[in-house]
């Protein structure tokens, strides 16, 4: 059982003529958390949806829990990996509980309806993101941060082995940012799930990720343990803005110089 959750080899990803990654390779083991950092428009979202198997890579191979996406098929893949897309837009009315229950879809047969277990999982997921008691609320009445937490709850209800999160902290206030990252870290530690998340906060990445992947643009990438990858030099190269490293008793912190 030492198969990595996600195994990436020689991956090349382009958007039109823009190169996002070339020759990218890494393994994500069970329980590991990977933070993806990069400037706006470097293709973090595109890379994430490639890793989710929703977009063909130009070259290279992707192996999820020992199988290629092709072999798994969309439904089986959806039981193994979940994606939190950026931005939630609801065209139609729906309750909070119904929305959390969408995560159960890949686990249900064609004619099956959500049962007691599905409801329990959805309610637990809502409670985990501090939305207990919101079950009958209409999604349109939620605030931006509440809607984001609801999307995370739907992902929790999906119970994937690999979580792919595109800016999971968007719209969240500080205590919910920390709560969500604590929650994801606990899942990684206790259930051995893998976490890949696009973050913009270097200090949260330092604190809540084991590894980091930097997208410099034009296909250049750097991947490795956070301690090695997140340095003042690499971050200066990443963002084109100087950063100062401030060590204190517990760890390192970066602030814009």
């Amino acid at each position: 059982m030492n198969t990595p959750l996600l195994s990436v080899r020689e991956l090349e990803v382009n958007i039109g003529t823009v190169r996002v990654a070339a020759g990218l390779g890494f393994d994500l083991e069970a329980g590991q958390r990977l933070a993806i950092l990069g400037r706006n428009g470097t293709g973090k979202t595109t890379l994430l949806s490639t890793l989710a198997g929703l977009r063909d890579a130009e070259a290279g191979s992707l192996v999820l829990c020992g199988e290629s996406y092709e072999k798994l098929g969309a439904r089986q893949a959806a039981r193994l990996r979940g994606l939190l897309p950026q931005g939630q837009f609801d065209a139609f009315q729906s309750t909070v509980l119904e929305t959390a229950l969408i995560g159960r879809h890949p686990h249900l047969g064609r004619w099956a309806w959500e049962g007691r277990d599905d409801e329990r999982l959805a309610r637990e997921a809502l409670a985990a993101v501090d939305l207990a008691g919101f079950g009958t609320r209409e999604v349109h009445t939620l605030s931006g941060g509440e809607r984001q937490r609801l999307a995370i709850a739907a992902l929790l209800a999906q119970q994937p082995r690999l979580y792919l999160l595109d800016e999971p902290l968007a719209h969240l206030d500080l205590n919910h940012q920390i709560a969500v990252l604590d929650l994801l870290s606990r899942r990684a530690r206790e259930d051995g799930v893998g976490i890949v998340m696009v973050l913009h906060d270097i200090n949260l990445a330092l604190r809540y990720a084991d590894r980091a992947l930097l997208l410099f643009g034009e296909g250049r990438t750097l991947e490795g343990p956070v301690a090695a990858v997140l340095t003042a030099e690499s971050l200066m190269r990443l963002y084109g803005y100087p950063l100062r490293e401030i060590p204190d008793g517990t760890g390192r912190h970066f602030v814009p110089a």
Binding site: L54, G73, R79, F92, T95, T99, R110, W113, R137
Partner: protein, 328 residues
């Protein structure tokens, strides 16, 4: 919490309502027939004028109205999911425009009813293919592109319809206008519409949970294992066929396809597993009752049924909309 029990209950109640609407349609008219007589007329064990009227005049017309109302509501619900737009209706992609051009051209040349219907069906499919082909131009299609192409094609068809109306001889105008507003007095046979309705529901229901996800957006649906491209293609073809059959049978009845899915959604929520069959039945009920009114209100004169679908639907819709929002 969506449950199968609640869904079955809703469908059962609506089915009873559907049955009631059909009985009313068979009973009402210049020759009133009692419910008991309807029963024996349908069993075929009575002779006489009343039985003949029920069997060969009212029954085909009522069934055609029910099936077409159901098809339009089903197509409307599917289009709203496909385009992720609550304002979409079966005609938004130019299907009724194409059908109108085909039917009115046939009428202009004085062709028989069969060819008018053939023209409507051919026009509907031609418009569908045109929109699909143009919107797919770059190999992929977005809702916005599809919607815009459909609206433009519909506008083009509208211009052609106006042209035909303005050059048509006086004695054909009334027939054309009734066709445009929807008219069941020429509904030839209810069977194509009933068959299409059965096929449509059979094809859509197995995928209704997938459609729930499609309504929440492409990425969400794909990430949860829904084969979005295939599903959208299938939904498009199904909605187009359903609309084409309905329009061919009754003309361009408005309002049912837009408002019935909304009515049902406001009442029972947006779970397609309940919404699709419920909207189909509700659409059938609305058109059956509207057609019954259309032929009885100012009898012996007939009103265009499209006017009545709107007159019944608008107040009902506004009432539901202004009612306090559910489950607060």
């Amino acid at each position: 919490m969506p449950t199968r029990r609640r869904a079955l209950l809703v469908i059962l109640l609506l089915a009873l309502l559907g049955l009631a609407s059909l009985v009313i349609a068979l009973a009402a008219g210049s020759l009133p027939v009692s419910v008991a007589d309807i029963g024996s007329a349908l069993m075929g064990d009575t002779e006489g004028v009343a039985a003949e009227v029920v069997r060969s005049l009212r029954l085909p017309r009522a069934l055609a109205a029910f099936a077409c109302g159901a098809l339009l509501a089903l197509a409307g619900a599917l289009m709203q999911v496909l385009l992720r737009n609550p304002l979409a209706d079966p005609y938004v992609l130019g299907i009724s425009g194409g059908a109108s051009v085909g039917a009115l051209t046939a009428m202009l040349f004085g062709l028989p009813l069969l060819l008018v219907n053939g023209g409507a069906f051919a026009g509907a499919l031609a418009a569908t293919l045109l929109v699909f082909g143009l919107a797919r131009g770059d190999g992929s299609w977005t809702q916005t592109r599809l919607l815009l192409t459909g609206v433009i094609v519909a506008a083009g068809c509208g211009a052609v319809v106006a042209l035909i109306l303005s050059i048509a001889p006086e004695n054909k105008l009334r027939g054309m206008l009734f066709w445009l507003m929807g008219d069941l007095s020429h509904a030839a046979s209810p069977w194509p519409a009933l068959l299409m309705l059965a096929l449509g529901l059979l094809a859509a229901l197995p995928f209704s949970r997938d459609l729930n996800l499609l309504a929440r957006g492409d990425i969400t649906a794909r990430a949860l294992g829904v084969p979005v491209t295939r599903l959208r293609g299938g939904v498009y073809v199904l909605a187009a066929l359903a609309t084409a059959v309905a329009v061919t049978t009754t003309g361009a009845v408005g309002f049912v396809g837009l408002v019935v899915p909304h009515l049902v959604r406001l009442a029972i929520g947006n779970d397609q597993r309940v919404l699709l069959p419920a909207a189909a039945i509700a659409g059938g009920v609305l058109l059956t009752l509207a057609d019954t009114l259309a032929r009885t209100l100012v009898a012996p004169q007939q009103l265009p049924v499209g006017v009545l679908t709107a007159l019944i639907g608008v107040p009902a819709f506004l009432y539901l909309l202004t009612r306090s929002p559910k489950s607060t």
